[in-house]
């Protein structure tokens, strides 16, 4: 049998790995036919919404719901008193703490959920909320974690034992009643000794401000309890639908097989939709109570004020080096403000996430990290906004410390990085804080980046600009922002990564249909990453059926295999690996079928693009399409009918994507307005599955980095009032503020991943934040600036210029 097309054409027809396949998701989204949680409508569906606390810290002395129940359209009002008999007035957080579902006699942050009003529609719910009367007795408010650790005020009563001493928390003893945990990595004494005896030491204190992932779609859920069949269906904005099913089962007592959790289309997540929120629980309880489906959807203010802030890390660093710039030690202490409840979404053993990646891309022989988590009267959260667990904080820390050290050494910051990079031949590299970096080639990436932007030319131009500024010829300074980041993503190996005891493996199940098309289901869930497109590409290359013939389905726990969901850039490293491995199981069976059909031994056939061929006789082959049909119509001795496979993949290690970013910025010292003249981003995410999607991820992550570095902030006043509850105050960049980005890449495949892929969605955010920040700081370096805190909004930049005496 002969082909009428070439091998290259066969490869192209598959639309497998490496091609910029257009997205299959886009038809419905561009035509307004997406199906997001707020689009779900069920017969008799009710709408629930919260009475929220106006105070940041108060005792609740009375809740009167009588008037609300008289409001037309109001069906029920739930309070903690209603939930307590069911044990549902508190719920476990993913961080080993617990959180009030509805205020249990006191509130700990402004906007906290106090009562849940269930009504026929949103307007009636809003009327009902107005009519609920809550009496509060104000308590002293603490918004600063350092104050919290000195204060006699007890924020959480469960932190004080009967003996009056602090109780133990989920991660060990408390140092104070408002203290949550201490977490350490590395060697304390040797690090302190190295730093004490070093030739050069640079120190800096920096605050990584509180911000918010703020996806365009807020959080929400629809719960429908079918009392006849005893089945609960829960639709929601869940980045981890299976974990949500398990949590709902554990806290409600409904057996897990009777719960179906569905994540429909999700309008962006960025970490906001990993955790479990009171709204989810209340929609479930309200559906059980009323016997009707109940929808809960946050408005934007609810979203920004209550669900899942990110960062709020007060970091103090010391970095030591020899006179010629070889780094010898790193010390980092973090005071982490977790708000009223510890509701971080980190693997259990990592209460500060992977902050211990803070030695970055550098060969630092000795290091020590200590993180203290603290309660305050601010919203709970501490999620990883577009990053693997706290990696953004870690990379910002080290990339600022490098700059501060460069100033101390009076050395070029690019050169300082270069002489301290982990060398290619050192991989796999075990860092001082414990991680084993799987692969990297930092020098190649860095040199390519510096050369592309003509780094030396830029420095010369900057020098001229400073001279012109001093001569009164210009009022604009020029900053060159550098950042070289190493991420740690793809959590993770079950031996050290779990959430609520659930190992962080992931899964893929494939069914090949008789006519040679397929469906694959995964334990992850796309929120814009394009899984339906890229996972089909992985499979196309693995099993030789066209990507266009493969449906990818995620998010329905009744049909998808168990997985831990999508966040921390784990989909490609973990579920992508499961997809490849399940594909290989399909291929192994297909090989047996092909050998039978070709009447040769199994080992006499080999896979070639879309078929198995007899070795040495390429004209004798069976295509995967033919093999698929044979799987359903041939009685093959020793081979079961059908062609299906499932893989649960426990990754042997994390993956370590890296990249080199350079930003060139002009800053008007009189207005504080920064203008991004150029942004170059080189990413190495290992094997590239879909270059178009990678590039899109980089553009988006950089824009979120720009937002965080240049203005996006969740701020509170001393009374604990959130000052940034709407998009008027919370900065989301528009097309007008965002530059065009230049993207580039190197490819260093992960040695332990089946296809060598590392994940990319979060790299641009992780690397972008320090790059933008460093550009601002670099512009002021010639005038004595060492460090100023983000966000560098126009006012703060103006203030920096003013403090440095640049306004004359």
């Amino acid at each position: 049998m002969k082909d009428d097309i070439t091998r290259d054409e066969r490869v192209e027809n598959l639309k497998g790995m490496g091609c910029s396949r257009k997205r299959v998701e886009d038809a419905r989204f561009t035509q307004g036919k997406g199906n997001y949680v707020d689009d779900i409508k069920l017969d008799g569906m009710l709408f629930g919404d919260f009475v929220r606390s106006p105070y940041a810290h108060a005792r609740i002395t009375n809740i009167d719901t009588a008037a609300a129940l008289e409001v037309p359209g109001v069906i029920a009002v739930l309070t903690a008193a209603d939930l307590a008999p069911l044990g549902l007035h508190w719920m476990p957080t993913l961080a080993g703490d617990k959180q009030m579902v509805l205020a249990d006699s006191k509130v700990l942050f402004q906007g906290q959920e106090v009562a849940f009003v269930v009504a026929e529609d949103r307007y009636a719910a809003a009327d009902g909320i107005e009519a609920v009367e809550v009496e509060y007795e104000e308590l002293p408010v603490i918004v600063d974690p350092f104050d919290a650790l000195k204060s006699d005020v007890v924020l959480r009563e469960d932190t004080v034992g009967e003996d009056g001493k602090p109780t133990d928390g989920a991660h060990g003893p408390r140092k104070h009643h408002n203290h949550i945990f201490t977490w350490e990595a590395g060697d304390k004494d040797p690090t302190e000794e190295v730093i004490a005896n070093a030739e050069v030491v640079a120190e800096e204190t920096m605050y990584y401000h509180r911000t918010h992932p703020c996806p365009l779609e807020t959080c929400g859920s629809v719960a429908s309890m079918d009392k006849v069949n005893g089945k609960l269906t829960l639709w929601g904005t869940f980045q981890a639908p299976h974990a949500i099913r398990t949590i709902v089962s554990l806290i409600s007592g409904i057996e897990e097989h009777n719960i179906r959790v569905i994540s429909p289309d999700i309008g962006g997540g960025f970490g906001n939709k990993v955790g479990a929120y009171p709204g989810y629980v209340c929609s479930v309880v309200a559906s059980i109570v009323t016997g009707k489906p109940v929808k809960w959807i946050e408005d934007r203010m609810d979203n920004l004020m209550t669900t899942a802030f990110a960062r709020d890390y007060h970091m103090t660093g010391k970095i030591s080096a020899t006179k010629d710039g070889k780094i010898t030690g790193l010390h980092c202490h973090v005071t982490a403000d977790h708000g009223g409840f510890d509701a971080c979404a980190d693997p259990t053993k990592f209460p500060a996430g992977f902050m211990n990646i803070c030695t970055g891309s550098y060969d630092i022989p000795t290091a020590y990290l200590e993180v203290d988590g603290v309660y305050t009267n601010k919203a709970p959260g501490g999620v990883s906004y577009r990053c693997s667990f706290r990696v953004t904080e870690a990379v910002y820390f080290i990339e600022r410390m490098i700059e501060v050290l460069a100033i101390k050494l009076n050395m070029d910051a690019a050169e300082l990085r270069r002489i301290n990079f982990i060398k290619k031949e050192q991989f796999p590299y075990t860092a001082a804080l414990g991680w084993e970096y799987d692969s990297g080639d930092y020098h190649t990436a860095w040199d390519k980046a510096l050369e592309t932007v003509d780094y030396n030319g830029l420095r010369a131009e900057q020098e001229q600009r400073v001279a012109d500024f001093k001569a009164g010829k210009t009022r604009k300074l020029m900053g060159i922002g550098l950042s070289f980041f190493t991420e740690i993503v793809g959590a993770g190996p079950v031996k050290n990564c779990d959430i609520l005891g659930l190992g962080m493996f992931d899964s893929c199940e494939i069914r090949i249909h008789p006519t040679g098309s397929a469906i694959a289901r995964l334990g992850t869930i796309s929120q814009g990453q394009g899984h339906a497109t890229t996972f089909a590409q992985i499979l196309a290359s693995e099993i030789g059926l066209p990507a266009d013939s493969i449906t990818i389905e995620e998010g329905d726990t009744d049909t998808a295999p168990y997985g831990l969901g999508t966040y921390g850039s784990r989909s490609t490293p973990v579920a992508g690996a499961a997809t490849a491995m399940a594909g290989r199981k399909i291929r192994a069976k297909a090989q047996m079928i092909a050998a039978y059909l070709l009447e040769v031994h199994d080992n006499d056939v080999e896979f070639d693009v879309d078929r198995f061929v007899v070795k040495g006789a390429p004209e004798r082959f069976k295509t995967m399409k033919e093999i698929a049909f044979a799987a359903y119509n041939q009685a093959i001795p020793g081979v079961e009918p059908g062609l299906e496979a499932v893989s649960y993949y426990d990754p042997p290690n994390m993956t370590y994507p890296f990249g080199a970013y350079i930003c060139v910025m002009d800053i008007d010292v009189d207005t504080g307005v920064p203008e991004i003249r150029r942004f170059y981003a080189l990413d190495d995410c290992g094997t590239r599955i879909n270059p178009m999607i990678i590039e899109g991820q980089v553009h988006g992550g950089l824009t979120e980095a720009l937002a965080v570095a240049l203005g996006q902030e969740i701020a509170y006043d001393d009374m604990g009032n959130c000052k940034t509850g709407t998009l008027m105050d919370f900065f989301l960049p528009t097309a007008w503020e965002v530059p065009n980005y230049e993207t580039d890449y190197t490819v260093t495949p992960s040695p332990h991943h089946p296809i060598g892929a590392k994940g990319v969605g979060e790299s641009p955010h992780v690397g972008g934040v320090p790059c933008f920040s460093n550009a601002v700081q670099d512009a002021f370096r010639p005038f004595g600036n060492t460090h100023t805190n983000m966000p560098h909004d126009h006012w703060r930049i103006w203030k920096t210029a003013s403090d440095l005496g640049l306004h004359g």
Partner: protein
């Protein structure tokens, strides 16, 4: 609750008539009353543009307009811009140039872009960025949205030329 008002709209070419409270927002009318779920709610304060529709030839954020204010108006949503059998060049261009990711802003984005290209068929990049600044996207960083709109403009101008 106050007295209901009698409201007439023409939505995507179809006449609609109903009684609604004066406080009913147009986005609510579209999504809940008429089951037109293409326009989305993102902020309720006119900042994000996910709810953008066209009313009597102007781009409007339907989350901050009462249905009563639109009485008698012609309303076009993404559903009225193009569908499987008559895709608008913008719908094709957004797919071709990866101008969307999660898709939540996309209906508002394309609805606004369709007006922008009516107002200015040959926009510069700067004009596109300025003209689209009322629509926020959290995923794409806008670069590919700009590219998509430029591509659609080229396509539409070529089609117009060919027709003339």
């Amino acid at each position: 609750m106050s007295k209901k008002m009698h409201i007439k709209l023409k939505v995507n070419g179809k006449d609609e008539e109903f009684l609604a409270e004066p406080r009913e927002l147009l986005i609510y009318t579209l999504r809940e009353r008429l089951n037109i779920t293409g326009p989305h709610i993102g902020c309720e304060t006119s900042h994000c543009g996910a709810c953008t529709v066209t009313i009597n030839g102007k781009s409007v954020k339907s989350c901050t307009m009462f249905a009563a204010q639109a009485d008698g108006a012609e309303v076009t949503t993404i559903e009225g811009i193009g569908g499987p059998d008559n895709l608008h060049p913008l719908q094709e261009a957004f797919r071709e140039h990866h101008g969307l990711q999660c898709g939540y802003c996309t209906p508002g984005m394309i609805t606004r872009a369709s007006k922008l290209l009516e107002e200015n068929p040959n926009p510069t990049e700067e004009e596109i960025r300025f003209g689209m600044a009322g629509n926020i996207c959290r995923c794409t960083g806008y670069q590919n949205i700009v590219k998509s709109i430029q591509a659609a403009a080229t396509e539409m101008n070529a089609a117009k030329e060919a027709a003339e």
